[in-house]
């Protein structure tokens, strides 16, 4: 056992830094060229935000998979399985099953009724101003939480590659990532970002496939032997059973339920995923892209099971825990064990590009939401021309980039999948009830939407602030203080039902009735696709 564990010499990683960085630099250079080429056609707002609605279903599906398979899926889940065994597998299952909510209830209907952002749909038949502002605020908050997670992943990854374990060095790394990200989005817009997502998704899935086959080959393509080896290295048969992380107390069991709820309901409410449905020409293509994404994402999450237990068996939980980058370093360490510095360089470059691309996708969503929903529709009351709107979006990118850098420095060191699950909880609380109600409930009113969105968003954020995530724990953001009066680390089990309840309560107590003609229009359009935004031809 000890022999296997020391086979990964973490200190030796430093010697391969040049190679890692060389492979990474090459990848960035290639994608930048593609972004430049793709962005030559960025003329209108539809081009900038929705890539001219010119992508095919399979292209867009690959891009969705690219958006979705972030650092959380690759670094976070692999690490969670390697250290917590079966409980980590919960992330894979929740993240995948959640796509059925998007496929059955949201994707096509949304494509048919919206234009650029989630707020377009939510405010379709309700009063514009209050709903748009609420939707834009929740979009910004969800993107911020998601960005935190990606930045924490970037910090872990690069600190492992460069052997940087001091706070200042990692902060510098995060600043560099942020700078690159801002450049990507400013130059490329949605079209450039979509191409980056496509390339990166293909590389990530291919890389994970190679590693999965490699690990399986070591154990004679026998999953049972792999699991046995993981038990042996960890010296703990419980890694194969549920409950290693969440089974300790009644509170932690409740936390597991909360996580499960947030994972399955979060996806269909993530603004950057919703925005992807607008980059295709029709609802049918939106459906195709979700189906394509489900297959790719499902395949990838099957790989994470093997990679997680593979890292547990071949690298060992102890080595992972003590390496620079900690739990998030499991996948790169496994790559190093399997293929030495070359595979590590490739896998790290892909993981790095993953973070960069996801961050770009998130930033453009947040920027579009601010420019389109708050600036164009509320501040300038629809009088802003498209050029000004794009200009505001670009400035928002810069501001959000800076916020993401600061947040990333704070969140550094926590498991990325866990941090992303917080973004899922916030999204499911703030957005999902209103999305579902406004698509399916005829009587739903503005007051219901506003209560549900602010209530869900507020509850989720307040519960996170007073949870062990922020204070009172070994990996908390603020280690020296303890104001964690809410015991669960994921707020979903409280805030999601509360948001659904508030949406109902606000509606039944609302004395105003909404425009029935608008409701009819929304329903007819959502199901038939009449008058939906068409592709932009160049």
């Amino acid at each position: 056992m000890i022999g296997i564990a020391t086979a990964v010499d973490v200190a030796a990683l430093k010697d391969t830094t040049l190679l890692n960085m060389g492979v990474f630099g090459l990848f960035v250079a290639v994608t930048m060229v593609i972004v430049f080429r793709a962005s030559r056609n960025n003329k209108t707002a539809a081009d900038y935000y929705a890539a001219g609605r010119s992508f095919t279903g399979s292209q867009n599906g690959t891009a969705i998979a690219g958006d979705y398979l972030s650092a959380a899926s690759f670094l976070g889940i692999t690490g969670a399985i390697a250290i917590n065994g079966y409980d980590g597998f919960m992330y894979s299952i929740g993240f995948l099953v959640a796509w059925l909510v998007a496929l059955l209830l949201v994707a096509e209907l949304l494509r048919n009724t919206g234009k650029f952002t989630m707020a377009d749909v939510l405010s379709f038949r309700l009063r514009q101003r209050p709903v748009r502002i609420a939707a834009a605020i929740s979009t910004l908050v969800v993107c911020f939480f998601y960005l935190l997670a990606q930045m924490a992943g970037a910090g872990s990854l690069v600190s492992l590659l460069l052997g940087i374990s001091d706070w200042g060095g990692q902060a510098l790394v995060i600043i560099v990532v942020g700078g690159l990200m801002i450049m990507y989005v400013l130059i490329g817009g949605m079209k450039g970002t979509t191409w980056v997502q496509i390339i990166k998704a293909v590389l990530l899935i291919a890389g994970a496939a190679v590693m999965t086959l490699w690990v399986l080959a070591i154990y004679g393509f026998n999953l049972s032997s792999l699991l046995g080896a993981a038990v042996e290295t960890a010296n703990n048969p419980a890694v194969l059973n549920p409950g290693l992380q969440y089974g300790k107390t009644e509170t932690s069991k409740l936390d597991f339920m909360s996580l499960g709820l947030a994972l399955v309901l979060g996806t269909a409410a993530l603004p950057h995923v919703l925005m992807r449905f607008y980059t295709v020409p029709t609802a049918k293509e939106a459906r195709k892209s979700v189906v394509w994404a489900i297959w790719l994402i499902g395949l990838f999450y099957l790989f994470t099971l093997v990679l997680g237990y593979g890292a547990a068996a071949l690298v060992g939980p102890e080595t992972i825990r003590t390496a620079p980058g900690g739990v998030n370093a499991a996948a790169p360490l496994l790559a190093f064990y399997l293929g030495g510095p070359l595979l590590l360089g490739f896998i790290s470059a892909v993981a790095f590009a993953t973070i960069l691309a996801v961050v770009a996708g998130l930033t453009i969503t947040a920027a579009a939401s601010f420019a389109h929903d708050i600036y164009a529709s509320v501040i300038s009351k629809g009088k802003a021309d498209a050029d000004t709107e794009v200009k505001v979006a670009r400035r928002t990118v810069v501001v959000i980039g800076i916020l993401a850098i600061l947040g990333g420095i704070l969140a550094n060191g926590q498991n990325v999948a866990f941090l992303v699950a917080l973004a899922f909880a916030v999204a499911a609380s703030a957005n999902l009830p209103t999305i579902v109600y406004s698509l399916f409930w005829r009587k739903f009113t503005t007051q219901g939407a506003v209560w549900s969105m602010y209530g869900g968003l507020g509850a989720a954020i307040v519960l996170i602030i007073f949870s062990p995530v922020v204070s009172g724990g070994a990996t908390s953001m603020i280690k020296d203080a303890n104001f964690a009066i809410f015991p669960l680390s994921n707020p979903g089990i409280v805030s999601i039902p509360l948001a659904f309840f508030l949406g109902w309560l606000g509606t039944v107590l609302d004395k105003r009735r909404e425009d029935t003609a608008k409701q009819a229009e929304m329903e007819v359009r959502s199901l038939t696709g009449v008058g939906a935004e068409k592709a932009v031809n160049h």
Binding site: Y86, F89, M90, S92, I93, G94, L96, V97, W99, L100, V101, L103, L104, L105, D120, S123, F124, Q128, N222, L223, S224, S225, L227, G228, V231, L240, N241, P242, G243, G247, K253, F256, M257, G260, V264, K284, R287, V291, I294, W295, G298, Y301, L302, G382, F440, T516, A517, K518, A520, E521, E523, V524, R525, L527, T528, G529, V530, G531, A532, E533
Partner: protein
């Protein structure tokens, strides 16, 4: 309408309440809901049953079935299988039962709205 952002010209003067009340549209709505609602409830129940088992029936989930492969792992992998199956099922249902009728309604509305040169014919449906 107060909502210019969502009202492309193609649908500007359609009487949607009238379309909504047609038998054809009600049929489409019924077909859509009678598939997606039961299916959504079914997969959510199955998913939460799985989460509850993993949370509170650790002994059962840890039962070894074949080598080191236990009930928990098999149920987890079955979640993948059911997700893929429901996805395929929905696609074939949409192609057969939803898309044709949606296209019919769409053609009807858009056909009324435009003359053959693609210019809008003002307010015929109002």
């Amino acid at each position: 309408m107060g909502n210019d952002a969502h009202t492309p010209d193609a649908a500007a003067s359609v009487d949607f309440e009238q379309v909504q009340s047609t038998e054809q549209f009600q049929e489409l709505r019924k077909r859509h809901r009678s598939f997606v609602f039961p299916m959504a409830i079914a997969f959510l129940l199955w998913y939460f049953a799985y989460v509850l088992l993993a949370d509170y029936a650790v002994g059962f989930m840890s039962t070894k079935v074949w080598g080191n492969i236990n009930v928990g792992l098999i149920l987890g992998l079955l979640q993948f299988v059911s997700t893929f199956a429901i996805t395929s099922w929905y696609v074939s249902y949409s192609n057969r039962r939803l898309d044709p009728i949606a296209a019919e309604i769409r053609d009807e509305i858009e056909g009324h709205e435009f003359d053959k040169d693609g210019n809008r014919v003002g307010g015929v449906n109002k």
